[in-house]
Symmetry: C2
Subunit: 247 residues, 2 copies
């Protein structure tokens, strides 16, 4: 018999542990306050039609999702134009939950990236940086607390500072993931959604509403990003699995 | 520095090739004739609102998708209850395009599975069997030809014979994927959708509307199945990536 590499690769993957970074899609889950909610409809049942089927309707930005550059850049890459090699990638986790505990609107700083790199070496090229703020783990079950809108409807949650986004683009990263509604928040800025624009302007990506980041180590993570190939999509709802050491 | 396994695993994966088994999601694509169509709506534009966003609505069974046992088994496992270890798996391809060329309603037989195993060894435990009929590659761009409904609305496309489904369940496979609307067709049968019922009755899975199967070798395939974790889902729309030898 010819030797096949797939069984050995699978054994190596099965010796590790899979973590689900996609929160289950369920009615009533958080979303952008102005967007229509996620909906699921039963379209046939075994009792009445001999088969169970359903239909779902959702924003491209509901649940765990992958933002394509066109989300904020006219003419930017759309979801179905993302190369497959950008969907199987390495990742690192930067934990800023302590900063968020004292300031819920904390944005990851250049200094925090530098401090992480002092301990863990520079962020590898093409790797994703996952920002663990602790927000989703604490608030996902309460959509109003998760969005944390103020009286003017402005969202007040942790995010990524655009200067840190610029540094990560210099590092050649694949993208930034976060456990909040957005990598940008309501912090004062000359331009709207500055970190999205830095990343998407460099043809880099964003993932939001990621779950279970607290289960991940700072390094040694493989991501399998199953983002739906939506034609013209500004994003793709995604099943994101992380492979981490079993230990 | 601690040694990390993820970079070496990623190098091994990058030495192989990724193939996209999910057709792009686009308005007008094929679906079950009685189901509402796939829809995408633009919900905001950069010009008018400073951001591009969209919303999609689709059957759980549109595009490449992963059928959960509850699709045909009352009380069966739903989409969000599928273990993560069932989403990173090995696969083999059985090519029955020659049989389909002479009979478009051909169902993969026990004899065809046996003939494949004579050449390639038994189907590995937990592996998926992908049936390449050639149907999607030939007909996806023409939804009426893809469904191939007769005057009574009965779908006439290639499928899987329930006896072959039973054999594969005995082999301990993970599931069966196919490049048609369904692993079952209109062939006369005592029960409706017999192969779905054999597989789901054994807590095994199905994937349908898989693209690019003609690009895969018969063995040495890893699948990353990014099926959306739909709570109560009878299926999950899925981004399915196959890793195959580069050569």
């Amino acid at each position: 018999m010819t030797t096949h590499a797939a069984p050995a690769l699978l054994d190596a993957l099965r010796a590790r542990r899979l973590v689900d970074l996609s929160p289950p899609l369920v009615m009533g889950m958080p979303g952008m306050p102005r967007a229509l909610p996620y909906e699921r409809t039963v379209t046939a049942t075994l009792a009445e039609r001999g088969v169970n089927t359903g239909r779902i309707a959702l924003s491209e930005h509901h649940g765990a999702h992958f933002d394509a550059p066109v989300h904020f850049i006219e003419g930017g890459r759309t979801m179905s134009e993302v190369p497959l090699t950008d969907l199987v990638v390495e990742a690192v986790v930067i934990d800023c939950a302590a900063s968020v505990a004292s300031d819920p609107e904390h944005r990851l700083t250049v200094a925090e990236v530098a401090a992480w790199e002092q301990v863990h070496d520079p962020v590898p090229e093409r790797a994703w940086v996952l920002l663990r703020t602790g927000w989703l783990a604490d608030r996902w079950s309460d959509p109003a607390r998760y969005a944390n809108a103020d009286a003017d409807g402005v969202l007040r949650h942790p995010a990524l500072h655009p200067d840190a986004a610029r540094l990560l683009v210099e590092r050649g990263i694949g993208g930034v993931g976060i456990d909040t509604l957005s990598v940008d928040n309501a912090a004062p800025s000359d331009i709207r959604s500055p970190s999205h624009k830095v990343l998407h302007g460099a043809d880099r990506y964003v993932m939001e509403n990621l779950a279970n980041l607290e289960q991940l180590p700072p390094r040694d993570i493989l991501l399998f990003i199953g983002a739906l190939p939506v034609v013209d999509g500004t994003a793709g709802p995604a099943r994101v699995l992380a492979s981490i050491p079993a230990g």
